[in-house]
Structures are given as C-alpha cells and as structure tokens.
C-alpha cells in the first residue's frame, strides 16, 4: 500500500516536460502553432459540417460554412444506398476478431520464442521477423488465387485469414518478454506452474502496455485495411466500411457529395474516437518501430 513501493513516482515524469524553454519568439510560435493546427484540423471539421448540410447548402457558390439546420438526411440516404448498418457490423466484427486473433498469435509465438527451447528456434525467429520486410503487395495475386480456389471469395474468413499472420506483434512481444525478470518465471516453474499457467498468470499481467499497443495498432490496421477486402468481396452484405464507401462512390458518384461524406464520417469517426480516448497507448504502438528499428 505504501507509496514507496510504487515503481515510478510522479516526480520522475517532470524533467521531460521541462525541455527547450525557448521563451523568445513566443508570439510567433503561438501564431505558427495555431495556423498549423487549423490547417491540419480543418478538413475533418469541414467533413463533419458538410455531412450535416442539405444539397442546397453544399452547392452554394459563396461557400456556406455552417449547416443552416443540421440534419441527418445524408446519413439516412447513405444507409438507403448501401447497407450501412451491416457494413458497420462487419467492420466491427472483423476488426475485433482480427485484432484479437493477431494479438493471441503474436503473444503465443513470442512466448515460444523467448521461454521455450526447441530445435530450429533461430530459424523460426528469422522466418517470422523477415516477413516484416516482405511487402504485402507481392503476395496479393497468389493469395487471391488461393482464396478464390477454395471458395473463400465473398466470405469473412477470406477477408480475415490471409492477413492474420503476426510479425509486428510477435516482434514487439518478444522485445518485451526479453526484459521480463527471469527469476519470477523460474520461481513459477519451480512451483509447478505449467506453460499455460505461466503465460496467463505471469507473462500476460506483466505485459499490459505491450498488449494494449499491439491490440490498438491491430485495430487501426484491420479497420482501415482496404486493398485486400476490396479485392476479395463484391457482395455488399460482406463488405467492410471502406469497401462499402467505394461502392457508394461508384453508384452515387460525386453527384451527391452529402451522402458520400456522411458515409465517410461513419468510416472515420469510430477510429477517431478510439484514437482520442486511447491516444497515448495507440501512439506508443504506432511509433514503436522507431524505437526498435
């Protein structure tokens, strides 16, 4: 209970904040920062506003900034043109299952690579890590042929399975496992804890930041994945949101911006919310390559 046992008191965080006290030119600094923030943030604000406008308001020549009376008509129309609810459910389902499986695969594989002795371990590790350097693009034509030949086109497993292999996650988990105190796991082993128990009772609880980082990165990549699901699926009821957006673009074209933009909000808003809520962990995961690579 005592505060003394806390690994890192709050004081430790402070020096990091006290960097580069460049006080001169503050005003110019603030102006530049404000400008940059507005320029970078404006498109998203504009998107949200536009999705709430009527066609008349959208197509006015001196641009109208704010919707006169915000309405969800565009959203309703988008849901009429493509099965938006179904696409949302597909995207959520595939993202949750895909990210969950990716984390599990990476976790299990890294555990084996760090805590188990087995023949050809180095080779297996090399094989897994080298995939980080293989661009998915070169695998697309053969994978498409395979998936088509086993009848997986227009199926969830066709979208999901070929991208499941975890190289990035395995790599991050392995890096983390190597830093875990060996004594704890040895003690657990002496106490008769098998691998399954060691994994769940000791390794996983000691790995929550890495788990969160890998899970969040997987969520973002699964949600946004485009080329593969776009190739594998052409039935609307199996599409993910970004693929459905393509369908809407092709059917409604650019003649009906409000509807297309409303659907764009549906694609982007969920992940934007995830980002805003879990920003620190997500950024840590997405920028993890820089520390390790």
């Amino acid at each position: 209970m005592s505060a003394a046992t806390l690994p890192r008191p709050a004081v430790a965080a402070r020096p990091a904040r006290r960097r580069s006290p460049q006080l001169g030119g503050s005003l110019a600094g603030y102006a530049t920062m404000l400008f940059a923030t507005v320029v970078l943030g404006l498109p998203l604000v504009w998107l949200l506003l536009a999705s709430l406008k009527t066609p008349e308001e959208l197509y006015q020549v001196p641009l109208q900034w704010l919707p006169g009376s915000p309405s969800l008509d565009n959203y309703a129309q988008a849901a009429g043109a493509i099965p938006l609810g179904r696409l949302l459910a597909n995207s959520i389902g595939l993202t949750v299952v895909g990210a969950g499986l990716k984390v599990a695969l990476g976790l299990a594989c890294a555990y084996a690579l760090v805590f188990l002795d087995f023949p050809f371990k180095k080779l297996v590790f090399g094989l897994v890590i080298a995939t980080l350097m293989i661009p998915p693009q070169i695998t697309i034509i053969p994978n498409y042929t395979l998936v088509a030949s086993i009848g997986w086109l227009n199926t969830y497993q066709g979208i999901l399975v070929p991208g499941l292999a975890s190289a990035f996650g395995t790599f991050l988990f392995r890096q983390h496992f190597l830093t875990l105190p060996a004594s704890v796991l040895e003690a657990a082993e002496l106490d008769g804890a098998g691998h399954w128990r060691r994994l769940w009772k000791f390794v996983v609880p000691m790995s929550t930041p890495t788990l969160a980082a890998v899970a969040l990165v997987s969520v973002v990549t699964e949600w946004n994945d485009y080329l593969w699901p776009f190739l594998v699926v052409d039935h609307a009821d199996k599409m993910t949101l970004p693929v459905g957006l393509t369908l809407l673009q092709n059917t409604d074209g650019m003649s009906n911006w409000g509807v297309l933009l409303a659907a764009t909000v549906v694609v982007t808003l969920p992940i934007l919310l995830v980002f805003l809520i879990l920003q620190r962990r997500l950024v840590a995961g997405l920028t993890a390559g820089a520390v390790t690579g």
């Binding site: 960097r19 580069s20 006290p21 460049q22 600094g29 603030y30 923030t37 970078l40 943030g41 498109p43 504009w46 959208l58 197509y59 641009l63 594989c109 084996a112 023949p119 371990k121 094989l127 995939t131 350097m133 661009p135 693009q137 070169i138 695998t139 034509i141 053969p142 994978n143 498409y144 042929t145 395979l146 088509a148 399975v161 499941l164 292999a165 975890s166 002496l190 106490d191 008769g192 949600w223 946004n224 485009y226 080329l227 776009f230 190739l231 970004p242 957006l245 393509t246 650019m254 911006w257 694609v267 992940i271 995830v274 805003l276 997500l282 950024v283 997405l286 920028t287 820089a290 690579g293």
Partner: protein
C-alpha cells in the same frame, strides 16, 4: 482469482524430485536420469512450441512465403487471372516491362510521388516537431490534431479530400480565392491530380513524422543546447550544428520508413484519381493493381510486383547496413 503462488502441488514434477532420487556418488546414473528427464522436457517443450508458435508460423508460411515464391514463378508466365492455361515465357514479362512505352511514365510518376511525399513529410514534419517541442500552451491539442489523420482510413481520407479539392464547391478553391489565387483544375489538368494526391498523402502522414522527430528532439541533451547558447550560437546555428546531427539516426529511420510506405501507397490514389487522368497518377504500386485486377494480366503484373519488391528490398538493405554501422550513434 489472483492467488499468485499457491503451495506446491502434491506430486512435484521434474527437477527437484529427480535430484532427490539420485545417489550422490555415481555420475553415470545421474546423467542417465537427467538425460531421460531432459528428453521428456524437451519433448514437452517441443509440443508447447508447436502449439504456441505453430499457428502463427503456419499462417506465415502459407500466406507470406508461399505467395512470395509463387509470385516469382507467376512472373515467368503469360497467364491471365482465373485462366486455366498459362504459357512459360521466361523473362519475357520483365523484358516487356522494361521496354513498354508506359514504363517510363510510371517510373517517373513513382519517383515524383516518392520524392515529394518523403521529402515534404520530412521537412514539414521536422518543422512541426520543432514547434511542438517548444513549451507552448496547447501543444498537446496541436499534437493530437496533427496525428489524427494518420489513424484514419486512406480511402476515406481520399474521398474527403476529393471534396476539399472540388473545383466549384471545395474548400481549397475558396481558401485560394481568399489570397487571390485561381484554383487550378485539380481533377483534370496535369500535373495537378498528382499534386493533389501528394498533398493528401502529406496531410495523412505528417503527424507520424512529427511525432517520431519529437521523440528524437526530446532525447537531445538540454545541456548541449545550453552550452551552445552560452557560446553565443543563434538558435538556427544550434539547430544546424547540434540538433540536426544528433537527429541523424531518426532522420534515417524516417527516410526509409516513409519511402517504404510511400512506394506501397494505394488507397488514396484509388479513391481520388484511379491512377488517371491518362495515367498521370499511376505509380508502380497502382500499375500492379491495374495490370492484374483490372487488366487481368496476372503473370505480367507479378513481374512488375517483383520489380517493386526488389526496390523495397534495396531500400531495406541500405537501412540494415546503415543501422549496423551506426547503431552506437543513437
């Protein structure tokens, strides 16, 4: 249920009981027991390894290495997607690619796109990082706003910006109008479609570069800067002589990462221009998609994919050599 270490279970397995059972004197029986036990343990470990690493390795072999090799093989065939028949043409597809009239244009577009996106993101990202590294109120908000586009779907971002660039009702023409500029025909007149795609790519990836640079900047020791300031160095001079050299590893990492991702970018181009007009935004990556899935020439497209693969491999190889030599520097 967080009973961390329960009292030992009754039948203690493995090591301790084995040690208890061996007489202290004779080495032969001891080693025999140990090796038998070792064999059991090894078999057990192997079983667990198969169980834990097996699924991932299997997926990797089936969906990464198998297609990698198959793609190399396909590149030697004249074969259309879904067609039952194929003809072996050796390096014919490669010869065709190298001599095709459109190849020069595609390579040129890829070069322009890559140099502009990577160079632009590096310069602007460093600038943004320097700004965010100052102790300004609200920089957290600025950082969030800058990074947000990086997590969004590339295709959705493309659609959003297509509307931004709309020649009559778009925000871009409105803002250009404020400063008295006429908006070019973004959708149709070369080179504007390519410029448009580059701008969007920059917007999406800028925050990532800035954040990595920010992490690098925060690792620059403050006393080095203070010393430079004491010596009367201007902030520009400090940046050039102290900060930038110390950031070299970060710069190099970003250069390679951004090059790899830029060379493989697809979603934004698909959403905004579909490689057009008249192929003016068709990059190497986009041409692979077009040849295989629009044109159906899967054999030829595999050859182009191999070319892209070799380019990416070369970039990675340079990185690995550099990192090996420079690792002490970071």
């Amino acid at each position: 249920m967080t009973t961390v270490v329960t009292p030992r279970p009754s039948g203690l397995p493995d090591a301790p009981s084995a040690r208890a059972g061996t007489p202290p004197a004779g080495p032969p029986p001891a080693t025999r027991t140990r090796s038998r036990l070792g064999a059991r343990r090894r078999r057990k470990a192997l079983l667990w390894a198969l169980l834990l690493a097996g699924p991932n390795v299997l997926l990797i072999v089936v969906f990464v290495y198998r297609p990698l090799l198959q793609s190399l093989y396909l590149s030697t065939l004249q074969w259309n997607l879904g067609s039952p028949s194929a003809r072996f043409v050796g390096l014919g597809n490669y010869v065709e690619w190298f001599t095709a009239p459109t190849t020069g244009r595609v390579v040129g577009t890829t070069l322009v796109f890559t140099v502009a996106t990577v160079g632009g993101a590096m310069v602007l990202g460093l600038g943004l990082a320097l700004l965010l590294n100052r102790r300004l109120r609200g920089r957290g908000v600025a950082r969030t706003v800058a990074f947000a586009p990086y997590v969004l779907s590339g295709f959705a971002v493309g659609i959003l910006w297509l509307f931004m660039f709309d020649p009559r009702y778009g925000l871009v023409q409105e803002l250009l109008g404020w400063v008295g500029l006429e908006s070019p025909a973004w959708y149709t007149a070369r080179p504007w479609p390519l410029v448009m795609v580059i701008v969007v790519y920059l917007w999406k990836n800028l925050g990532y570069v800035a954040l990595i640079y920010l992490a690098g900047l925060q690792a620059v020791p403050q006393d080095l800067r203070d010393a430079a300031a004491l010596d009367g160095a201007s902030s520009a001079r400090t940046l050039r002589s102290i900060v930038l050299p110390l950031l070299t590893p970060t710069t190099f990492f970003l250069l390679v990462t951004m090059m790899l991702s830029s060379l493989q970018s697809f979603d934004i181009i698909k959403a905004m221009t579909q490689g057009g007009p008249l192929g003016s935004t068709t990059t190497l990556m986009y041409s692979i998609y077009e040849e295989s899935f629009v044109g159906g020439r899967a054999g030829y497209a595999s050859a182009v994919a191999t070319v892209l693969f070799l380019v990416l491999l070369a970039v990675t190889a340079v990185q690995m050599r550099y990192v090996q030599r420079k690792v002490h520097y970071a």
